[in-house]
Each structure stands twice: as structure tokens, then as C-alpha cells.
Amino acid sequence: MDTSVGISVEINGALVSRSVPAETLLIDFLRDDMGLRSVKLSCDMEICGACTVLVDGLPMSSCTTLAADVDGSKVTTVEGLIIDGVLDPLQQAFIDHGAVQCGFCTPGFILAAKALLLRNPNPTRAEIVSALDGNICRCTGYTKIVEAIRHAASA
């Protein structure tokens, strides 16, 4: 049962039109077809947030989303946050505050934080906690991640 579907997606600002097997997951489409390896596979069941991407500015787990479901949408990964070689303030803040250790969860955290700041540029700590509670980091203990996001928001 090989059914393909045509999709048109704006990925990191570039329009991509492809035919993909209907069962293709967004994570596989982004990693294997688009070469966007910042999208990380970890729990594979939508509980850890490592595969988070932005779909029309909202965070979404790409491991449990079909590529076909983002047809007509804008998808952003951390590669797309870099404009003319300049890091997004969140990316810079994650570096400056040591909010990264192994780095495997980092793209998902940055994108979930980006979605928060897009709708709430000055979040309280409680709002940051609420927005990021679906992302797991096993290395940092989270304190420096919160510091980085607060700094990026105030910058």
C-alpha cells in the first residue's frame, strides 16, 4: 500500500514541494529528505521534546506528526533561526549561560522557548516552566536553561 501525497511546506523560509509516502513522519522528512539533523529522535513517543520543531510558530513533536499534516505550513528548525550568520538571541543566550551540555535536547528547548517568546516576550519564571515542562534535559538540571531564556527575553 504505497500511497504518496504531495506536500508544500515552507521550511526555514524556503518553499519545498515534494511527494512523500503518506506514512512519512515529519521527523524523517526533515532529517532524511531535508538534511536537517538538528531535529533529534529520542523517546519517539512525544514525551521528551527533543524532536520539537515550530509549525506556524507553535512547538510540535515531529516524531508523532505526519509530514502530510504540515502541508501548507511554515516549519522552523534551529538552522532557520540563524539569519545572515547571526544567531537568534536565544541561541546566543544558551551559549552564554552554559545552558547546553550534551546538546541533544538543545534544539528542542530553543524552539519551545522561541515559541514562548513569540507569543509572550516577557515571560515570568512560572510561564517559562509551564512552556518548557514538556522538554526533558537529562544533563543540565534546567537552572541554566531558565537563566538563558530569561536573559534572552530581557535582551
Binding site: L36, S42, G98, C139
Partner: protein, 746 residues
């Protein structure tokens, strides 16, 4: 600045799961569904005929292997199960196909027929006289990875039986005024690294090359050389960025299996485990610890005994070292004139135990620091005062013949108390202290190569796993060579180019590899000066290094100028090389431990009386690290370790029910989240520059995990009147204890 961070935030960092090799096929592991069984039949014919399948590796392929069983203390583990399985999750086949999806689909077509055997579900069952013996044939190997030999008892399930003794406990107990005894339990814990285990193996004319997220690449190299009958020189191990390990990728894990699949397939094979499969690959050893302390009429401790039984799972891995260290780590920073601690590790039909951040440490400190508070409560004394009366001082012996204590426990305790009670010394809080002796082998080598364009490559086997080792090595080399950090390039660990190093773990890399690269960079400096002396006909005393090249008196030349003058063309390089051994630093590294990794933790908690949910409100952790080589990375190690300790304390539990793993999947296994971490969090780093490492650094990174669980339990006992002795302190357990107390009180 750490060179890895820019790559990691921008999505350019290449982890092992991102690596692709030409011609690569994909392997999916078929796993035992039985905790203990004979394999009486296996049908792989449907899988072999499935779309895209290259081959199916099974125990029938053992002829491909020169050595069919491997291990670190015992050669007890088959590369792939042959006629018997010993835990649910043990690999029984690997289906190799041209895509991951096809390998997964075909793996479901493998049919295995088992004949169940009676099982050892728990250590108690494994120790019983009529227990089935999991390994009839004991083949211990000595000084293979850790120093020493495991003391197992052939014909039983005990694979380590270690005794730590001092003085005469029996007469101390006979003369005691009071004796306190308590038992504590600690569950199996999953490492839960965000990147599951992954490896790629390729056999070609050059031998075997393996890309792996391995913390101990040279151990992988050594084991693979034996398994495949290859010279070590023909086994190459390459390690890109590793997405978390915490010991779960240390020693050797999936590499022999992946290489065997590649051998059979005749082409490169990648195996990427799912998160569940990683949880079936290794875990922290569970423990039951009984601890007894004798006190004299003045309230001074006369003696302590400990009985530690660890659940080692189906294969020993590094469990013997874990048990030994748990005995050492049960001692604590206290004057204990008489001591007898026995630590046993036993085989059970569960996921194999393995190293996990501070091996044996959290188990032992959970028991010993809960016990200290229980004694203080019985004596009616403040826990700070009770500890103070027994605290060791700098220079005291913790364990006979080991290096004297190189920290001040009083300073650490006071800092933790101060941070959580804002100066009110007797305000309420839970407290825990710990001292551990890292099992660091001071053996490492490094190469520092200076090129004509001024770029410098550093070859070392230290793995960047998030701790920031590349940043630390970059800083040390830059300072030694007087060059800006950005010209120093730390290459991916690759055994083809980098010298032997024991491994990345036990808080050793910044210290030991730091010393190795410092010495190798110093060797490069000597060679550059000698070359410049010849080329420019100057005394070496008139030459020094300067950013971009060398200073000759008041003139500056580039490295290109140097090679031009020396070689006639402006090309060439200078290679500095050095090794660290137990004889380095005039023998100062020979005595163990190289430093004491210590911890002080204090916290306050609140409890919802209706649900038993415990919330951490305030936490302070203190570490004496000698010198911070990268402050935010060092703080991050402490904070991350403590939050892992919070998982041990409140949530995490790998449950086995008659050998069946009940929680070995991310959905059912609760790790700490952001909402579990309080805003009121203090990390104190004590820096006296008194370590043996570069710039006076000691190792660090493990201590933070030690104190959290007992500190929370002690806060619960002190402020909420309930003493928990089993981890994790789940709402159910806390609510039950609160209810029992209310019932008792009414």
C-alpha cells in the same frame, strides 16, 4: 568558550545517530521476552525473505567470532544469545536490512521458541540456597579494565563479595551504650541519556572500524580485538559528540553485537536503539543496605557495620567495581574507629547493572546519611551538631592506606546549611554529606600538533559528552602555547590518531587528560624552540612563543616563517606528545584516590498532606573542586547531577516483576522535569587551587548526585515527621507514612 556549544545550538553538531557511512545497512535487535529460558528453536526464514533484508544474525553464527563471550570482570556475556537467555531484553537476533523501517518490519517475523527456566527475580532469591545458578562457569579476568579481580563465589550467583574492615567491630559493639540499625532500599535506575545507544561497524581491508557513542573507546577497541581475533592496531574506534551517557555508555555495550552483524552482513551496519531498548541495555544497580552503628555513653560513634547487597542483573559488566565502591562510599566523612562493611553483588534475571555517575555512591550515601539523621533524632541532637562531633578534617584518613582527605567537610557543611537557612544555623533543613574515592586510573596520552598556518590540532580519546572537556583542553593548550583559543582544534576521539586513554568517566578527563595535553603542549613548545634555535641560530632562552608564532628578541615571526627558515618551504609541523602514568608528577599520582570527590547538600521540602506529593523548595549543593576550569560548565555539572539525584529521590524506579521490566519505557519512567526544580537553588564551588590537575583543579561532576535523596528524606523526617527508607519517595509511600503517623498520633 566551549567550541562545541556553537555547533550544538545551531544544529551543526554531529552525534553518532547523525552519522552515515557509504553502503550502510540498518540492524534491528530482536530481544528475549523471557527472563530465563533455553532457546529450543528459532525460525528466521520469514524474516530473511522479507523485503530489503540482508541477513539475520543469530547465536548460530558464533563461528564468525574468535571469542564468543566477553566481559570486563568475567567473560560471562555472549555477543549474541546462543542456547539460553538470562533477561528480558537480551539480544537473540539482529535483522539487517537496507532501511531502518524494513529491518524493524522484518524483526517482527523472527520466531523464537523458549523453554522457561526457574528465575532469580530478586537478590534475595538469587542468594537462596536452592536458587538457580545463572552462570555455572566463572571465568574471571584480572586487571582488564578496572584494576583487580572480582571476588565471586563459583557455584553461586555472587559475583562480588568485598569486605572493608578496620579495628574490631565486635568488641566495640560489646562495649556500646546503644546500637542503632536500619535498612534502606535503592531501586534500579535508568541512565535515560537523551540519545539512545548507537553504533556503526564496518569491516574492510584495514580491519574493523566502529563509530560509537562510547565513553570508553579503548575498552571497546580491546574487547572487539579479542572477539574478532584482530590486532588492536586493526580495530579503530571513532566517537563523535555523545548525547549523554552518565556511565550508561561506559565500558562496552552494544559494539560487539553491532560488529558481529556487520561481519555477517558483509557491509557496514548501523544499529540505533530506541529509548526503550537503551533502558533494557543497562541500569544502575539496585541495593538493599543494612547499616548498624554503635554509640558510647558520651554519644560518640564506636563502630559501624554495613551489609550491602546489590542487584547486578544478568551479566556482571562493571558491577564488581560498583559494589566495591559502594562499601567505600558507605563510610562517610566521619571518624569511625571500627568498621566492617561487606558489599556483595549478585546475578539476577534482570537488565545487567552497570556504571552510573558515582558508582555505588548514591546507594551508599542514601543509607549512611539517612542513618546519621536517624541516630541524631534518637539521641535528641541536632543533625548538624551530631555530624560536627564526628567530622573528619583535612588530612585525616577516610579509609586506611588511601590518600588523606583533601577537603574540609566542616566548611562544606556550613556552606550548605548557610545557603538553605540564610544564616539561621538551627533552622530546619535536610542535610547530607558524602566523600567518595574516584576510581581514576592515571593513564592517558595526548598529541598536540602545531601546523605551519598556526592552527593546532589536539588528539585525545576524551569524549565530549556534555561536560565540556573540549573547552577545557582547548583552554589548557592555548595557555601553554600562548595562542588564542580559536586556533586550537580538538579533534573527534579516534584511536587511529590519538594515544591510549582509560576512558571518559569517574570525573577524570579535565584532570588527567588536562595534564596530558598540558604536557604534550609543553613538549611541542620545547620542539618549536629547538627548531627555531637551529633555524635562526639563537639560544633557546632568547626565543618564546607569542600569539601566531614566536618572539625572537624583539622580533616576531609566524609559524610559517619558522618552517620556511627550517625547511626551505613554508610547510611542516611540530608534534608534541606526552603520557600521564602513575609515575607522573614525581609519583604524586600513584596514590589513590587522586582527590576525594565530596558533597554537601541541604534542602527544604514541602508535602501535600492530601496526596503525599513532595516538592523541593530550596536546595544548596557544595563541591570542593580545587579550581573551576570553566565556571558555568562546572556549575552545570553540579546542578545536573543534583537533579538526577532528585529523580532517584522522588520518581525513578526500574521495576521488575518476576523478571519482566514494568517501567522500561519513557512513557512509564518519570525523570525530573523543569517544574520539579525550585527557583531557590544555590551551587557553591570551593576553589583553593589545591588539586593535582591543571591550575590546581580536582576532578568533578559526580558529587552533586550524592546528597539529594538523603537530604530530602531527612527534611521529611525533621519537618514532616515521617521517615522514608525506600526510594523513590513516591506520593503513595509518603502518604502512607503520613497516614500511619496520624493514626498513631490519634
Amino acid at each position: 568558550m566551549r567550541p562545541d556549544l556553537l555547533e550544538k545550538v545551531s544544529g551543526k553538531a554531529e552525534f553518532i545517530s547523525d552519522v552515515s557511512i557509504d553502503g550502510m545497512a540498518y540492524g534491528k535487535v530482536v530481544r528475549s521476552t523471557e527472563p530465563h529460558a533455553r532457546i529450543i528453536g528459532m525460525d528466521v526464514s520469514r524474516a530473511e525473505q522479507a523485503n530489503g533484508v540482508v541477513c539475520v544474525l543469530t547465536g548460530a553464527d558464533s563461528g564468525l567470532l574468535t571469542q564468543t563471550d566477553w566481559g570486563l570482570f568475567y567473560e560471562d556475556r555472549p555477543v549474541i544469545a546462543r542456547d539460553r537467555v538470562r533477561y528480558v531484553g537480551e539480544p537473540v537476533a539482529v535483522v539487517v536490512a537496507d532501511t531502518q523501517a524494513r529491518a524493524e518490519a522484518a524483526s517482527r517475523l523472527v520466531v523464537v521458541e523458549y523453554e522457561q527456566l526457574s528465575i532469580c527475580a530478586t537478590p534475595e532469591q538469587a542468594l537462596a540456597g536452592d536458587a538457580p545458578v545463572l552462570h555455572e562457569d566463572f571465568r574471571p579476568i584480572s586487571d582488564f579494565y578496572f584494576k583487580g579481580t572480582a571476588r565471586g563465589q563459583a557455584g553461586t550467583n555472587v559475583f562480588q563479595d568485598y569486605l572493608l574492615e578496620r579495628g574490631d567491630v565486635d568488641s566495640a559493639e560489646r562495649s556500646a551504650q546503644r546500637i542503632f540499625e536500619h535498612s534502606y532500599s535503592f531501586p534500579g535506575i535508568a541512565h535515560f541519556a537523551m540519545e539512545p545507544h548507537c553504533a556503526i561497524a564496518r569491516f574492510d581491508h584495514a580491519g574493523l572500524t566502529i563509530w560509537s557513542g562510547a565513553q570508553s573507546p579503548t575498552a571497546v577497541q580491546k574487547v572487539l580485538a579479542r572477539v574478532f581475533g584482530l590486532p588492536i592496531a586493526r580495530v579503530r574506534v571513532i566517537v563523535p559528540y555523545v548525547g549523554g551517557g552518565f556511565g550508561g555508555k561506559a565500558s562496552v555495550k552494544i559494539e560487539p553485537l553491532v560488529a558481529a552483524a556487520a561481519r555477517k552482513a558483509g557491509r557496514p551496519v548501523k544499529v540505533l536503539l530506541s529509548a526503550e531498548e537503551s533502558m533494557l541495555t543497562c541500569r544502575r544497580l539496585a541495593a538493599i543496605i543494612t547499616i548498624r552503628t554503635a554509640i558510647d555513653a558520651e554519644g560518640a560513634i564506636l563502630s559501624r557495620t554495613g551489609d550491602i547487597v546489590m542487584d547486578g542483573g544478568a551479566y556482571a559488566d562493571t558491577g564488581p567495581a560498583v559494589a566495591l565502591k559502594s562499601a567505600h562510599r558507605l563510610v562517610g566523612p566521619y571518624r569511625l574507629p571500627n568498621l566492617r562493611i561487606r558489599a556483595r553483588a549478585v546475578y539476577t534475571n534482570t537488565v545487567p547493572g552497570a556504571a552510573f555517575r558515582s558508582i555505588g555512591g548514591p546507594q551508599a550515601v542514601w543509607a549512611t546519611e539517612s542513618h546519621m539523621d536517624e541516630i541524631a533524632a534518637e539521641l535528641g541532637e541536632d543533625p548538624v551538631d551530631f555530624r560536627s562531633r564526628h567530622l573528619l578534617q583535612r588530612g585525616d584518613e577516610v579509609i586506611d592506606n588511601l590518600r588523606p582527605l583533601d577537603v574540609d567537610p566542616t566548611v562544606m557543611m556550613d556552606a550548605a546549611v548557610e545557603a538553605t537557612t540564610k544564616g539561621h544555623n538551627h533552622a530546619s533543613r535536610g542535610l547530607a554529606l558524602a566523600v567518595t574515592d574516584p576510581g581514576i586510573l592515571p593513564v592517558a596520552g595526548a598529541i598536540v600538533r602545531v601546523h605551519a598556518d598556526g592552527s593546532v590540532e589536539v588528539r585525545s580519546m576524551s569524549v565530549e559528552i556534555g561536560q565540556g572537556v573540549r573547552g577545557v583542553l582547548q583552554r589548557i593548550v592555548a595557555e601553554t602555547l600562548s595562542q588564542p583559543p580559536e586556533v586550537i582544534h580538538i579533534l573527534d576521539p579516534d584511536t587511529a590518531g590519538a594515544p591510549y586513554d582509560w576512558g571518559t568517566g569517574a570525573s577524570r578527563s579535565s584532570m588527567i587528560m588536562g595534564l596530558a595535553v598540558e604536557k604534550a603542549a609543553g613538549d611541542a613548545v620545547s620542539k618549536l624552540l629547538a627548531l627555531a634555535s637551529e633555524a635562526f641560530e639563537l639560544e633557546t632562552t632568547a626565543i618564546s612563543l607569542a600569539p601566531g608564532g614566536l618572539k625572537l628578541g624583539d622580533k616576531t615571526v609566524s609559524f610559517g616563517d619558522l618552517f620556511h627558515a627550517a625547511h626551505g618551504i613554508d610547510s611542516g609541523d611540530v608534534t608534541g606528545q606526552a603520557s600521564i602514568t602513575p609515575r607522573s608528577l614525581d609519583g604524586k599520582l600513584a596514590q589513590a584516590p587522586l582527590f576525594w570527590e565530596t558533597a554537601a547538600a541541604a534542602c527544604t521540602v514541602s508535602v501535600d498532606p492530601d496526596t503525599g506529593v513532595v516538592a523541593l523548595d530550596t536546595y544548596a549543593g557544595v563541591a570542593d573542586i580545587g579550581r573551576a576550569l570553566n565556571r558555568s560548565a562546572a556549575e552545570g555539572q553540579e546542578e545536573g547531577a543534583a537533579v538526577q539525584g532528585l529523580g532517584h529521590a522522588l520518581f525513578e524506579n526500574l521495576v521488575f516483576d518476576d523478571g519482566q521490566p514494568m517501567t522500561a519505557m519513557p512513557l512509564l519512567y518519570r525523570v525530573p522535569r523543569l517544574s520539579d526544580v525550585p527557583a531557590d537553588w544555590t551551587t557553591v564551588l570551593i576553589e583553593n587551587g589545591d588539586g593535582l590537575g591543571p591550575m590546581g583543579a580536582k576532578g568533578m561532576g559526580e558529587g552533586g548526585i550524592l546528597g539529594m535523596a538523603p537530604a530530602i528524606a531527612n527534611a521529611l523526617a525533621r519537618d514532616h515527621g515521617v521517615r522514608l527508607r525506600d526510594l523513590p519517595m513516591t506520593p503513595e509511600r509518603v502518604w502512607t507514612a503520613l497516614s500511619a503517623r496520624k493514626w498513631h498520633a490519634s
